[in-house]
């Protein structure tokens, strides 16, 4: 299992946010992106998830036996927004994503109730998602990563708006994921309390892009 990025470059508007970023992550490895606002952390994560087209370069996923495939399919992506419907109950939300995601080969997800339990909110899955507080909603969004198996977790500011205890819960879950051979890519301001992560410091603005650039 390897996630490989080669010579990535992406832009926002006409600005080239970064160029020539390469990395290679194997089982159990994690990469933390740091840098100030607007340095392109979110953009890089979205490029890796396949949501944005890279200006140059490619991200690929290799697993034993098969050829390289589009990396996005092996990834869970937790963006700024929670991707949960306020009108549906937590159980309906998690259940939908569980069946819509399916499991990537090599693992299985846990049930919605168990996942809620793991993020410390067991017993309230029957409530509409909209009734939960912002912190609880974020935790339930995190529980979405547990209901179906993906080897790669891409987390964009996962602990924004969370208290210290929830942060610790997340760190535990991430450690467990890495321990089972998962791969982590995360952008954060706060340290997640994880050891042995590689760090990529984004500086932002790598020049003006494109055909009309200098």
């Amino acid at each position: 299992m390897r996630l490989t990025a080669e010579g990535l470059a992406a832009r926002r508007g006409e600005d080239l946010l970064f160029s020539d970023i390469s990395f290679d992550l194997g089982a159990g490895e994690g990469l933390i992106l740091t840098g100030r606002n607007g340095s392109g952390k979110s953009t890089l994560l979205r490029v890796i998830a396949g949501l944005l087209r890279a200006e140059r370069g490619a991200v690929t996923w290799h697993s034993s036996g098969d050829g390289p495939i589009r990396a996005g399919e092996a990834c869970h992506y937790l963006g700024h927004r929670n991707a949960m419907k306020a009108e549906l109950s937590v159980e309906e939300n998690l259940g939908f994503w569980k069946s819509f995601f399916g499991d990537f080969k090599g693992g299985t997800g846990i049930s919605a109730a168990e996942a809620a339990d793991r993020v410390g909110l067991g017993g309230i899955t029957h409530l509409p998602f909209g009734y939960l507080s912002a912190g609880q909603q974020r935790r339930m969004a995190f529980a979405k990563l547990l209901v179906s198996y993906r080897p790669v977790w891409i987390l964009d500011e996962p602990t924004a708006a969370l208290d210290a205890r929830a942060e610790a819960t997340f760190a535990d879950l991430i450690r467990e994921h890495l321990g089972r051979g998962g791969i982590l890519l995360a952008a954060t301001h706060q340290p997640l309390g994880l050891e042995g992560m590689r760090e990529l410091r984004m500086t932002g603005f790598a020049g003006v892009a494109g055909e009309f650039g200098a």
């Binding site: 979205r46 992506y77 009108e87």
Partner: protein, 219 residues
């Protein structure tokens, strides 16, 4: 895929869902026409099929901008785009759910409005059948407009402007089939079958176009 269909249907009937509003809009639009043209029953029964069809067309377009917009607003669209399910199929399922929740009630309500328009039983039946066959095409065409306008903050009106010209053939054949059922010399089947063909054509083209637009619109 089944879970997506069920989820979308659930969302449409929960609080804030647009299913009721579409039918209400349909009824209101059709009901104000007589105030414009006068309560002459003969005139109303003559223009009835066209009025009901135009009302249904506008009502079907009404909720379309929310088709992908709500998914984008809460970030679900990102996750849907990442999956290995063919995106075309996902869009198709979303269209079907949207049609069942929003357009099928219009078809059900149309006989009632036919009565208000003093239409004959045959005309009422013909309008209901042509709406049943024709409204899916509106949803499929509308999906392209909704996908193109997904990232715009005020896409609602724009979607209508984009989609209405494309929906003209549906209106033409829907209305002419309805009239053909009532007026004797014109045969019913040819325009009806063309309508059916248009629907099946857009059932393929609409999701393809919408999927393509969604892939390119993500930011």
């Amino acid at each position: 895929m089944m879970s997506l269909l069920l989820r979308d249907l659930k969302l449409s009937v929960r609080a804030g869902g647009g299913a009721l509003i579409g039918v209400l809009f349909f009824m209101t639009v059709v009901a104000v026409i007589p105030f414009g043209v006068g309560p002459d029953l003969n005139l109303l029964s003559r223009i009835g099929p066209a009025i009901v069809w135009i009302g249904a067309l506008l009502a079907a377009l009404l909720g379309l901008d929310r088709l992908f917009q709500t998914e984008r607003d809460d970030g679900s669209l990102d996750l849907i785009l990442m999956q290995e399910h063919p995106l075309v199929l996902t869009v198709l399922v979303k269209c079907v759910a949207h049609w069942v929740a929003n357009s099928l009630p219009l078809v059900v309500a149309s006989p009632l409005l036919g009565l208000f328009m003093n239409m004959s039983e045959v005309a009422i039946g013909a309008v209901a059948v042509t709406l049943l066959v024709g409204t899916p095409a509106l949803t499929f065409i509308g999906a392209v407009g909704a996908a193109v306008a997904v990232s715009l903050p005020r896409g609602g009106l724009l979607v209508s402007i984009l989609v209405l010209p494309l929906a003209i053939p549906v209106l033409i054949f829907g209305v002419s089939a309805s009239y053909a059922a009532v007026e004797d010399p014109a045969p019913f089947m040819p325009p009806f079958l063309i309508l059916l063909a248009i629907t099946m054509f857009f059932a393929v083209l609409g999701p393809l176009g919408a999927a393509l637009a969604l892939r390119n619109a993500s930011d």
